[in-house]
């Protein structure tokens, strides 16, 4: 076994150990720190699978944004009266363990018996890549080849936002959520936010821009931008907007709306829903990506901020 193989094996064991800890830990916070570390490790695993685009997404969402969501949720839950639910009885837990082991073994057996060489859509993607004008095949898949999936995924994000907001008590409807933030402004945190946020915005936009040809894209860049808005709110440099704010609503739907318009116009100009006219394929993809980035950057922090918790003004 060479050095790289040893690294891979160590990494896999590490991921499993920390996942096991996250499941088994007694305290909520210990489990959540475990999960944050797990997200970090996973992004390294993805990098090792040559899925750099996925690694970026996992690093931004799994490690960063989800960590804030979980830690602040745990803090609010700590306040709740924690009458421990008794754990299921031992036989029940053994049955659960047996079932889980069975699922894992079945999945493992399937993986070991996968056909060799594996089926692949890569040649097809490579053949049609030139038609889209972009160089990053993943961006081409997301925005052009399987645009319907991506559009529906954006709609799912919108549904999640609607679901979260609909949990607000009546008297707060139209008011603003309270994003996770410091109890009062702290010098060091203000400093960090003021310094990191502008850099992060540049990095986020850079990721979207190079995403046309190199690893990167709307999801990765949007997640970084979302994180930057979150850190600004955490440092109390800005506040979560009221959920009724027209600009917020516009930003949330901008991505799917532009995507849908592009798709519908394809039905008129190119004869098929979502068929992008080849001459304009690249600029169209970039425009769709830009609006998607905006929507993602606004949706993720609003999901973390939760339902409105203040009466509208």
């Amino acid at each position: 076994m060479n050095a790289l193989g040893a690294v891979d094996l160590g990494l896999a064991l590490l991921v499993l150990a920390i996942a096991g800890w996250t499941i088994a830990a007694r305290e909520a916070f210990a489990a959540i720190v475990g999960y944050v570390a797990y997200g970090l490790l996973l992004s390294i695993v993805w990098a090792r699978l040559f899925a750099v685009d996925v690694a970026m997404t996992e690093a931004a969402i799994g490690g960063g944004v989800t960590g804030v969501l979980l830690i602040s949720a745990a803090a609010r839950l700590r306040q709740a009266q924690t009458a421990e639910d008794e754990r299921p009885t031992l036989p029940l837990r053994l049955m659960a363990a047996a079932l889980s082991a069975l699922a894992a073994i079945a999945l493992g057996a399937v993986i070991l018996s996968l056909p060799e060489p594996g089926p692949s859509l890569a040649p097809l993607a490579a053949k049609n890549l030139a038609a889209t004008g972009v160089g990053n095949p993943i961006t081409a898949v997301l925005i052009a080849f399987r645009s319907f999936d991506t559009l529906l995924e954006k709609v799912v994000l919108l549904l999640a936002i609607i679901g979260v907001w609909s949990l607000a008590p009546d008297r707060y409807w139209g008011g603003a959520p309270i994003a996770p933030r410091a109890a009062r402004p702290v010098g060091a945190l203000t400093f960090l936010a003021q310094l990191v946020a502008p850099i992060g915005v540049v990095v986020g936009v850079h990721m979207v821009w190079v995403g046309a040809d190199e690893p990167g894209g709307a999801f990765q860049g949007g997640a970084i931008l979302a994180a930057m808005w979150m850190i600004v709110m955490m440092a109390r440099l800005s506040e979560a907007p009221p959920v009724g704010a027209p600009w917020l609503r516009a930003a949330l739907v901008a991505g799917p709306a532009v995507f849908l318009i592009a798709g519908a116009s394809g039905a008129v100009t190119s004869g098929a829903f979502f068929a992008l006219p080849q001459a304009f394929a690249k600029p169209l993809i970039l425009i769709i990506e830009a609006f998607m980035t905006l929507s993602i950057a606004v949706t993720l922090p609003m999901l973390v901020a939760g339902p409105p918790r203040r009466a509208p003004l």
Binding site: S43, A47, I71, M207
Partner: protein, 95 residues
């Protein structure tokens, strides 16, 4: 040289992984967080080294993303230590 770099990346990852024992042992939440912080730095280092060794494109950008978000968990943790905000706190509603 490549072998050396990969071995170095592996060793660093292994080292910080041993540090994760602090997540298990605690005793305080701050200690657990420190271990995660150490893992973040070690992950950045390992990614950069592997990027240099294998020449894979874009790995530096993953490291860049990790570096940008390195303080996130700590900030959220410190914020969550404060007493929770009540809904509709008067000072918050004024803005």
């Amino acid at each position: 040289m490549t072998e050396f770099l990969l071995a170095a990346a592996g060793l660093i990852l292994f080292t910080v992984a041993v540090g994760l024992a602090r997540v298990l042992r605690g005793p305080g939440d701050a200690d657990r967080l420190m271990a995660a912080q150490l893992l973040g730095t070690g992950g950045v280092a390992a990614l950069l080294i592997v990027a240099a060794a294998t020449g894979a494109r874009g790995l530096e950008d993953v490291a860049l993303g990790l570096a940008l978000l390195a303080a996130f968990a700590s900030v959220a943790f410190v914020n969550s230590g404060a007493p929770p905000e009540r809904d509709d706190a008067p000072e918050a509603a004024s803005k």
